[in-house]
């Protein structure tokens, strides 16, 4: 346990080293939040209550998206590139003979990274957005707690998805294509483009059932208080369910991959 905590803490510190990058990222998130929030205002001006959100909720959704963008690693750039590269070069052999679980190792590293990105790149956009727009804030500590749990579950689902993407490198060697597809799918199906309740018909149903909705749509709805009582439990069970399924798949595929891995050279 101590080992895994140590990995998470060091990963947090590793990302915290690059302060200029954090400032630049928070700045970019804020600029995008500003632009997108105005387009939502225009849309909700035409269609109040669209997708079940009022104007304030819609704008809050935008800023939540910008705040969670880095933590959920929606645009990539997390551990999956590093692991993919280690698989390609064969360095992964070093990881495999460590007496730790490969998936758990990277999960802890990614949790540390996500924790840093949540603070370093999440707070500034929301604060700036809160100064410029009328944003919703959860009432009461219970809803805040539910939101944080939902974000944590979202990060785990995000990790599990990207771990599978990285593992594809064992079979494909160059994982950059799969990574690109992974990012595209995540952006499209997480609610980052538009809230998934705005997607028409079956596409909306599908998007809300896929694991990517656990990354942004569900945490945002929890934050906005759209789920009450049993529904709230259901939303989190949805996230936890996907987390378990995806992590188990990752575990099984790791076992398969390590059996076929051949490291060149000596």
């Amino acid at each position: 346990m101590g080992l895994y905590a140590a990995i998470a803490v060091r990963s947090f510190r590793r990302y915290a080293t690059y302060r200029a990058a954090t400032v630049a990222g928070a700045f970019t998130n804020t600029v995008f939040g500003l632009i997108v929030a105005h387009t939502y205002l225009a849309l909700w001006d035409e269609r109040p209550a669209l997708g079940g959100y009022d104007v304030a909720q819609a704008v809050t959704f935008v800023w939540l998206g910008q705040a969670l963008l880095a933590a959920m690693s929606l645009l990539g750039g997390g551990f999956e590139e590093e692991l993919g590269e280690r698989i390609r070069t064969g360095d992964v052999a070093v990881d495999l003979y460590r007496p730790v679980n490969l998936q758990l190792w990277w999960l802890c590293a990614d949790l540390g990274r996500a924790g840093y990105h949540l603070l370093g790149r999440g707070l500034v956009p929301v604060l700036v957005g809160g100064c410029l727009f009328d944003l919703r804030v959860p009432t009461g500590p219970a809803r805040w707690f539910a939101f944080l749990v939902s974000v944590l579950l979202g990060i785990v689902v995000s990790f599990a998805l990207r771990y599978l993407v990285a593992l594809s490198g064992f079979w494909l060697l160059d994982g950059s294509g799969v990574r690109t597809v992974g990012v595209l799918t995540a952006v499209f199906f997480s609610g980052m483009l538009l809230p998934l309740t705005l997607f028409p018909g079956w596409l909306g149903e599908l998007a809300r059932a896929l694991p990517w909705s656990a990354l942004l749509q569900v945490p945002a709805d929890v934050y906005l208080g759209r789920h009450a009582g049993g529904e709230l439990v259901g939303a989190m069970a949805f996230q936890a369910g996907w987390a378990v399924v995806l992590l188990a798949t990752g575990q099984a595929l790791t076992a398969m991959a390590t059996r076929r891995v051949v490291v060149q050279g000596g």
Binding site: A20, A24, A42, L43, G177, V181, L193, L194
Partner: protein, 263 residues
């Protein structure tokens, strides 16, 4: 210029060696840039007008801004990778070659796959022209290539400014995205959607409004929310020249002040 073409041709040959990868990455670029258009399409599935603009008009803004960014990205977008060369010191190699550093940096890893964005936004622009009900007088016809070229130059200038900025703060390279891709997202939508102060900012401080808003408002026969004099509709090339001038000075200062990593 010859150096630029030579290096670009070399990288094209290099990428075309892995044909499948090239096709996939180009398609991925096409889809990535198309996602922005999906947003607009979904929005218009729920409404007929956005900020008083119809789908055809927003598609026109989307197309003009996207083509400008696509061209600028294709031509000088590689310059944004200069940060890596500064960090690992490999910029030194470029400095001793008998070709202008800028030409080398702009053509470095020239990515033909960026045609993906250009194709997608170009198609959207063509589609918007079919959809639009515009009285195509000669000034409007001339404004179209006029704004695409100026828009390309403005975005190119911003790319170069971003590259120069990396000489001082290589880690903060992402700031540039706020102005290139952020500027692209911004100018896909009509200026009437945004707060007056934001529009002022992107008119007078970072002149993104001249990428397409000002000339497009003239083409679409729409009032300008800031009420600028009529010549502003045609001022894009002047603004573009100014942006490129500032970018050139910044680049010169950056390269002159460059000290190697010392390794």
């Amino acid at each position: 210029m010859r150096g630029y073409l030579f290096i670009a041709a070399m990288w094209m040959r290099s990428t075309l060696t892995y044909r499948t990868s090239f096709v996939l990455l180009t398609l991925a670029q096409l889809v990535t840039s198309g996602l922005d258009f999906v947003v607009i399409a979904v929005m218009f599935a729920h409404t007929d007008t956005l900020g008083g603009f119809e789908l055809g008009e927003v598609a026109f803004l989307y197309g003009t801004s996207g083509v400008a960014l696509g061209l600028a990205d294709l031509l000088v977008g590689s310059a944004q990778q200069v940060g890596r060369r500064i960090r690992d010191g490999s910029l030194d190699v470029l400095l001793v070659r008998p070709v202008p550093v800028f030409a080398q940096v702009a053509a470095d890893r020239f990515a033909l796959r960026r045609l993906g964005r250009l194709t997608q936004t170009g198609a959207a622009l063509a589609w918007s022209l079919v959809l639009l009900d515009v009285d195509w007088t000669w000034d409007r016809v001339l404004l179209l290539p006029w704004m695409l070229l100026s828009g390309t130059a403005i975005f190119a200038g911003i790319y170069v400014l971003g590259a120069a900025f990396q000489f001082w703060a290589a880690d903060a390279a992402e700031v540039q995205n706020a102005f290139t891709h952020g500027g692209n997202t911004l100018t896909q939508f009509p200026p009437h959607v945004f707060a007056r102060d934001l529009v002022r900012g992107v008119t007078f401080v970072v002149p993104l409004a001249f990428v397409n808003w000002m000339p497009a408002l003239h083409v679409l026969d729409r009032p300008d929310p800031l009420g600028l004099p009529a010549f502003a509709d045609f001022a894009s090339p002047v603004v573009a020249a100014a942006v490129c001038g500032v970018a050139a000075l910044a680049w010169r200062a950056a390269v002159r002040g460059y000290r190697s990593t010392g390794s």
